[in-house]
């Protein structure tokens, strides 16, 4: 494996709800933590990329970080904002334009479910008036069909959510840190059949930042560089089953997650069997289940046995969402993708504390997926 880019600094703010603290302020705080981690100052930073969905323009944070005239590229790409920001940063460094940059993602959403405007998604107002403009419905209908097609018992959905809260309880930056039993999860209010309240993540707040540099310069900033082996963004093809779709083609095409993961693993020169730890989009527990197969980490239908055997636990063969994922951390859309990178770097450095994957993991995969059918995957390694 070769790499152009290394992650040499990481910073995060606690995820959850922070009254009176703007999303931008949370992003700027994460940048300061990342700069400290890399042992550099804002003046050293040659460029920045990043964004948020609902919390303002990332480049305005130069007002608090310092007006150094650096180029700051705003990147907003829904759930793929973090992955897209990192992808842009890697291209800028890989092209030779810059040696050292910052990638930042942050967000702050209103309480309750997202309430997107249909016209922003190319749909008539009628679609929202009827009551179809809900991401929760999409995930419920996708897992409903998936369970039917592969003969999977719905109880596994509670088991996956229980793992998320258990892992979150070991993560000081997680929002939901109280473990819940499978019965509590399965018996909670039904949000969108077969998914209950505790199987879904909630829109939230948080900020994450990375310091990235030319791979051959990495040891100037850290004794433990983590290399970006690949970062890939893909949109949907005709026939894939996506959120906010008034209709679908009769012939199913694979999700953009499938192409993004295949390309990311291929560019990194590794196979799914080489992945030691994975962070997968878990908007709800069924999404984690389906994304295990879409990213190639298992076959369709194998998930139930894997989850039951404990393979996806922190000490299992294939640890997934070791920081509690979106279910325990909430979903600040602009920050979640970089939260996955942050967690992967911690794990590869061996710095994940109570939730450290044993055995010295060497290869990490991250995956995000969101509306209107976009996925970003990254492979990182020591």
């Amino acid at each position: 494996m070769s790499a152009d880019v290394a992650v040499v600094g990481i910073g995060i703010t606690p995820f959850g709800r922070h009254e009176g603290v703007s999303g931008l302020a949370q992003g700027a705080a994460a940048v300061r933590h990342a700069l400290d981690d890399a042992g550099i100052s804002w003046r050293d930073v040659q460029f920045a990329t990043g964004g948020s969905q609902d919390a303002g323009n990332a480049d305005t944070m130069v007002n608090v970080l310092g007006l150094t005239a650096l180029p700051f590229f705003n990147v907003e790409n829904a759930c793929a904002t973090g992955g897209s920001s990192l992808s842009v940063a890697c291209s800028l460094i890989g092209s030779g334009a810059y040696d050292l940059g910052v990638v930042v993602g942050f967000d702050k959403h209103q309480r309750g479910a997202f309430d997107p405007n249909p016209s922003d998604w190319g749909l008539g107002d009628w679609y929202g008036e009827v009551g179809l403009m809900l991401t929760t419905q999409f995930f419920a209908m996708k897992i409903q069909r998936y369970l039917h097609d592969h003969g999977i018992a719905p109880r596994v959905l509670a088991k996956i959510a229980a793992k998320a809260f258990r892992n979150g309880s070991r993560n000081p930056n997680a929002w939901r840190r109280t473990p819940l039993t499978e019965d509590e999860i399965a018996g909670a209010a039904m949000i969108s059949h077969p998914l209950t309240q505790y199987m879904f993540c909630s829109p939230g707040e948080g900020g994450v930042a990375l310091v990235v540099c030319r791979a051959d310069l990495a040891t100037r900033y850290t004794r433990q560089p983590v290399y970006v082996r690949s970062t890939v963004v893909r949109s949907r093809r005709f026939g894939s089953f996506e959120v906010f779709s008034p209709w679908l083609a009769p012939d199913r095409a694979a999700s953009p997650s499938v192409e993004a993961a295949q390309a990311a693993l291929g560019e990194a020169g590794v196979g799914p069997e080489d992945v030691d730890v994975a962070q997968l989009q878990d908007t709800e527990s069924g999404a984690e289940l389906m994304h295990m197969a879409e990213t190639g980490l298992c076959e369709d239908g194998e998930q139930e046995a894997l989850v039951d055997s404990g393979a996806t636990e922190i000490d299992g063969r294939l640890p997934i969402n070791t920081d509690g994922g979106c279910i325990a951390n909430g979903e600040p859309v602009g920050a979640s993708g970089l939260r996955q990178i942050y967690e992967s770097v911690l794990q590869l450095r061996g710095d994940a504390g109570d939730r450290q994957v044993p055995g010295g993991p060497k290869v990490a995969l991250t995956h995000v997926y969101g509306a209107p059918g976009v996925s970003a995957c990254t492979v990182l390694s020591t």
């Binding site: 309750g112 009628w126 009551g131 409903q144 209709w247």
Partner: protein, 151 residues
């Protein structure tokens, strides 16, 4: 479903379904070059990028491909209804496979999870959705299980 002449009604949007009609049909588009269908109708083919799209009426029956129950009142806007958070009743939502031509997303008239099953035979109906301030009844399309279809 027949409509009363004493109540003013209007469809939720133009060019979604034929109305008034004894047997309403959804209005889609078919690509003259590759045969792909869309709903609602659109001017470009998302499969082959052709602009030779013609309006077609879609089959009014099909089979339930997947479903869920909307368990909480969606945020308003964009949702519109005569109900309130207190009076909201969960409603079914699903994709119906219209005889292999395409799958359409719609509200379902059935909201009991025990009575919804993948593969069930469904038919198009037009149902009241909400009333405007002047009393006009706004109607939309939905799918209901075909009675006696054994689902």
């Amino acid at each position: 479903m027949s409509q009363s002449t004493s109540v003013r009604t209007r469809p939720i949007a133009e060019h979604l379904f034929t109305w008034p009609a004894a047997e309403p049909r959804l209005i889609g588009a078919r690509c003259a070059d590759c045969g792909a269908r869309t709903f609602p109708a659109q001017a470009h083919c998302p499969r082959c990028t052709s602009t030779a799209m013609n309006e077609v009426l879609l089959p009014r029956t099909g089979s339930l491909w997947t479903w869920t129950i909307q368990g909480f009142r969606p945020k308003s806007p964009p949702y519109r209804s005569d109900d309130t958070v207190e009076t909201f009743e969960p409603f079914g939502v699903g994709y119906v496979d219209l005889e292999g031509e395409l799958l359409v997303e719609a509200r379902l008239t059935e909201s009991d999870p025990e009575r919804l099953v993948v593969g069930a035979e469904m038919e198009l109906v037009v149902v009241p959705l909400y009333h405007e301030e002047d009393g006009t009844e706004v109607v939309t399309y939905a799918f209901r299980p075909v009675e006696g279809a054994g689902s």
